[in-house]
């Protein structure tokens, strides 16, 4: 049962299409796992539909309609056959960005057994997969912007509570936290930040430029 959900502002911005790509990815991944949030996100689309319906009309050029009628007579670009591949850990939108399944991830060690893989998105925000061995703590850190962490496998706990598969933690500037992975199982998360993290200790801070976090 998912206990930690998306906030209305994120779902509204996802529906409006104004989030950075990395945020869109984590929202789409959470929605793939969470029925209540999916229902809410669809409702923001309905709100968008009503805004469109009441939008001011803008005059079209004379040839606009005939050009479109020309476009619809052409055969559409052939649909790329989507292989309904599945992965027990990665929902479909995440598989797209990983380019495969869990075993295809190109992990890089970042110390203390923690590994990460940065996913290719637009530069306004960063999306990374984190691999945290069972029982391991991620260094205490604050944030300059927003950090979203979605659990895909295992679980972690911090001051905000316990987070398991499908749960999303939303950390803002005010949040200082030290997530610790459950003892039972290694934890895999998708983490998205719109500004570099701020680690408290000196060493992690020195390492920051190299880790790209």
């Amino acid at each position: 049962m998912i206990a930690h959900h998306l906030t209305p502002d994120l779902m509204m911005a996802y529906s409006a299409g104004t989030l950075p790509e990395a945020f869109n990815l984590i929202v789409a991944t959470h929605l793939s796992l969470c029925i209540p949030c999916r229902a809410e996100a669809e409702s923001y689309d309905a709100l968008g539909g009503e805004i469109l319906e009441s939008s001011e009309m803008s005059a079209l050029s004379d040839s606009c309609l005939s050009e479109v009628l020309g476009m619809i007579c052409e055969d559409p670009a052939p649909e790329t056959a989507t292989t309904p591949e599945e992965d027990p850990v990665f929902p479909a939108p995440l598989m797209d960005y990983v380019g495969g399944r869990l075993e295809d991830v190109n992990w890089r060690p970042v110390g203390m057994g923690v590994k990460q893989a940065i996913l290719a998105t637009s530069p306004e925000a960063t999306a990374r997969l984190l691999y945290i061995p069972a029982g391991t703590a991620v260094p205490d850190h604050g944030h300059r912007g927003t950090e979203l962490t979605l659990v895909l496998k295992g679980a972690f706990a911090d001051a905000g509570g316990r987070f398991a598969r499908g749960d999303i933690e939303i950390a803002t500037e005010e949040t200082d936290h030290m997530p610790i992975a459950d003892m039972a199982e290694d934890c895999i998360c998708l983490a998205v930040t719109d500004a570099p993290l701020r680690f408290k200790g000196l060493l992690p801070r020195l390492a920051q430029p190299f880790l790209k976090i």
Binding site: A16, G17, A39, I51
Partner: protein
């Protein structure tokens, strides 16, 4: 829209085009696209409406909602040169005719939502529009405590019932 989907009815498409294309163009211009690009995107969006008509499900979304999502994706493509990650398709139960009752409830709910939006005080309405036109970041949306999200509460309940219902049929 159903005539477009089921009979590839061009006359119905022209009707839909006349209603939505100028609105899509206006919406895209408010979102920061310059006029000729906005028109080009609106054309692409309307062509997509035709080509993807077979995906339209009237028990899931109103025509306006559906056109909006297509126009929104064109906007992201044009403004940010990005694709938009979409949630995984749900494993729906065996293909069924869209439930007539569901369609009616959704229609009613869409009207309620439209009316609620129209009845909002100008300031609140403007806030919602700003969010959709990209004039507010998500953290600015969160800061706007006056945002009347209650407006869509019943729509959310409806969507949830439908999703739970479809999942059960698996």
């Amino acid at each position: 829209m159903i005539r477009i989907r089921d009979q590839k009815d061009q006359a119905a498409f022209v009707e839909l085009f006349r209603h939505f294309a100028p609105r899509v163009k206006g919406f895209l211009m408010r979102s920061g696209l310059e006029a000729s690009l906005a028109e080009e995107c609106a054309q692409e969006a309307m062509a997509t409406v035709w080509h993807k008509a077979y995906l339209f499900d009237p028990s899931r979304a109103s025509v306006a909602t559906w056109v909006f999502t297509i126009a929104r994706n064109k906007k992201i493509d044009a403004l940010r040169k990005q694709k938009r990650p979409e949630p995984e398709d749900l494993a729906w139960g065996p293909e069924e005719e869209p439930d007539q009752a569901d369609m009616l409830v959704l229609q009613e709910e869409t009207q309620t939502l439209g009316a609620a939006l129209a009845a909002l005080p100008a300031k609140q309405r403007e806030l919602i529009e700003k969010a959709y036109f990209g004039d507010l970041s998500h953290s600015e949306i969160a800061d706007q405590t006056g945002l009347p999200l209650g407006t869509i509460k019943s729509r959310i309940r409806l969507a949830l019932e439908r999703l739970r219902h479809s999942m059960k049929q698996k």
